[in-house]
């Protein structure tokens, strides 16, 4: 297989294109500060995107990720505020645990109560956002409530060259991406996810535990969103009940879609998602550097999602033609 035939190659090409155009129009795009903001923008998106990609591969969708992120981040923030000396690792565990529970609720509703994914997660999107306000009483978690070690995830990193820092956040996200790629490619549970997405009925008849696979993707997505909630607290230094993760689902879906994940299910790769996240980050920073207002952001996500849908539809048609011929 030639490298140019890979879906990821197109994403990479787009990424290079966006960066080149932005750098020519405005050389400041290549300064360490711009590159750092892309590198800090991507990690949370990668972490949540990994889960969302698995969900979309099974022909589902999870629009509650932003609310799960916010609720986990808020609960961990409250935990840190009430237990100032708490180990950060325990906080992470709590965040992931909360996210896993929330995701499991989605998974149970979809798998066993047979609620369509969009309805279940649209409901929990609202319900979890409401819960954030209920547990926090509408109060924000401030920077001085959070442990210093958590800030270091954003400020410090394993590698720093010429002012460009690979933060711990990014290192964690990439490590997770590596683990997820292994899980999806090499384990039976991972292959089951693709089997379910390619042809649910055939997968069931073949003896694939389809219910388990479906439940698992939502639970994993919840756990990852929970982790992203802790990362959010590190990245921004505060957790606000109204804004934490608000509308994040659209960003994540845009990144996953542009990363070459087949919108109608059955195929998608971690490499594509990671590239898609960097691409979206590059577009965002490029717009900011070029002086285009932040109010254009939502439009960009919308265009990106629709573009991915159209590419998807077009490739499906050529594939069908080729199969018939």
């Amino acid at each position: 297989m030639k490298i140019t035939a890979l879906r990821e190659f197109g994403v990479l090409l787009l990424l290079v294109l966006v960066c080149t155009v932005a750098a020519i129009r405005e050389p400041r795009f290549l300064e360490p500060s711009s590159i750092n903001s892309i590198l800090l923008w991507a990690p949370l998106l990668i972490v949540v995107g990994i889960g969302q990609m698995m969900v979309i591969v099974t022909r589902g969708i999870d629009v509650s990720v932003g609310s799960m992120l916010g609720l986990s981040g808020m609960l961990v923030g409250i935990l840190f505020r009430s237990q100032p000396g708490l180990n950060v690792g325990l906080g992470v565990l709590a965040g992931v645990g909360v996210g896993f529970l929330l995701g499991s609720l989605n998974g149970a509703l979809i798998t066993w109560a047979k609620v369509p994914p969009i309805i279940a997660t649209l409901g929990t999107l609202s319900a979890f956002r409401g819960l954030i306000f209920i547990v926090s009483g509408g109060e924000q978690i401030d920077g001085n409530d959070l442990p210093v070690a958590l800030n270091q995830w954003t400020l410090g990193g394993p590698l720093s060259v010429g002012g460009v820092t690979i933060s711990w956040l990014l290192a964690m996200a990439l490590a997770l991406a590596g683990a997820a790629a292994w899980f999806l490619a090499k384990t039976r549970a991972g292959r089951d996810i693709y089997a379910l997405g390619s042809n649910p009925e055939a997968a069931r008849l073949r003896g694939v535990p389809v219910n388990r696979a479906q439940f698992l993707v939502y639970a994993i997505t919840g756990a990852l969103a929970g982790l992203a909630g802790v990362m959010y607290a590190s990245r921004f230094g505060f957790v606000n009940p109204a804004t934490a993760g608000q509308g994040y689902e659209l960003t994540v879906i845009a990144a996953v879609a542009i990363g070459g994940t087949k919108i109608t299910g059955g195929s998608g790769s971690i490499l594509g998602v990671v590239l898609g996240c960097f691409l979206l980050g590059a577009i965002n920073v490029a717009l900011a550097v070029l002086g285009i207002e932040a109010s254009w952001q939502l439009l960009v996500y919308g265009v990106v999602i629709l573009l991915a849908l159209l590419i998807d539809a077009a490739t499906r048609r050529t594939l069908e033609v080729r199969q018939v011929a």
Binding site: L109, A113, P116, G123, S126, W296, V303, I305, L309, A313
Partner: protein, 331 residues
Amino acid sequence: MPRPGVRSRCGRLHKHRELIPAVLVVVAFIVGSMQSRFFLDSRYLLDSSTLYAEAGLLALGMTLVIISGNIDLSVASTLALVAVVSANLLDAGWGLPAVVVAALALGALLGCINGCLVAYAGIPSFMVTVGTLALYRGVAQAMLGAESVKMPSELIGIDMKYVPGTVVPVSLAGLIVIATVCGLVLNRSVLGHWVRAVGTNEKASFYSGVPTAGVKVAVFAIAGMLAGLAALHIDSRLGVARFDHARGLEVDVITAVVLGGTSIFGGKGSVLGTMLALLLIALIRTGMGVANVKAEYQLAVIGSLLVITVVATNLGERLASRGRVKMRTQK
């Protein structure tokens, strides 16, 4: 000896799905009136109905879309975009009739885009409309940013106007008329028959000559046009156009439709049920408002209501179908 009585009663309940929201409305009235005296003040109730006129218009379109086996998450974004565009047109000196036509046409066009992507590109409707949810509101935001456009003062306050000689707000009367038309379209027209057919079994209806693609485009276009009408209403009610009008309203709208007995899997549903469920949601929201429950908490209640409704319906359906199977095997 099984008890077919219970089961068949379950089955019969399914043929009259409007009964559930109707009963709940009565319960809500009783509970509400025990909580607060305002609740049974008919003037107060009639006046607050104007707050739900937009949700009502969106819910009528959504009923058709969901019966056809699809979903439209972009309705609130369509509303926002049309609201911004029509306020800009008024600002540029267009006359009211021209703006009304433009708003309805733009709404229908945005709906058509959804419908074409679903019908001809073969992409699931939830994916298409998640995309256009971002796109349409994104265009509105790019046009206005955080600014707002004021409406001409003579066009403000449609919600304060009454049908001459009565205490019924024009908004409510209009909604009832449009709901009646939608009900007639659904139950008495060929299009309505096709919509149900497509929602029940798309392949079978295609092979029996139903223009399935056209039907899908039509339901999305109707939903878009009703969103355009709702946009004009919200502009007039609030007096300004902003990009974040009706943000998140799709949750209330979809909840109203499924609570009204429309099957989320398509094929079954009624306009009357949707309107009753909307009344129920309005009562719950008003009740929570009277009891000083914050808007964010109300969000949690509506979201849970959506999920619980679908879970309960699925459970009821499973019980009913099991009953049917048992009765058949007894013979």
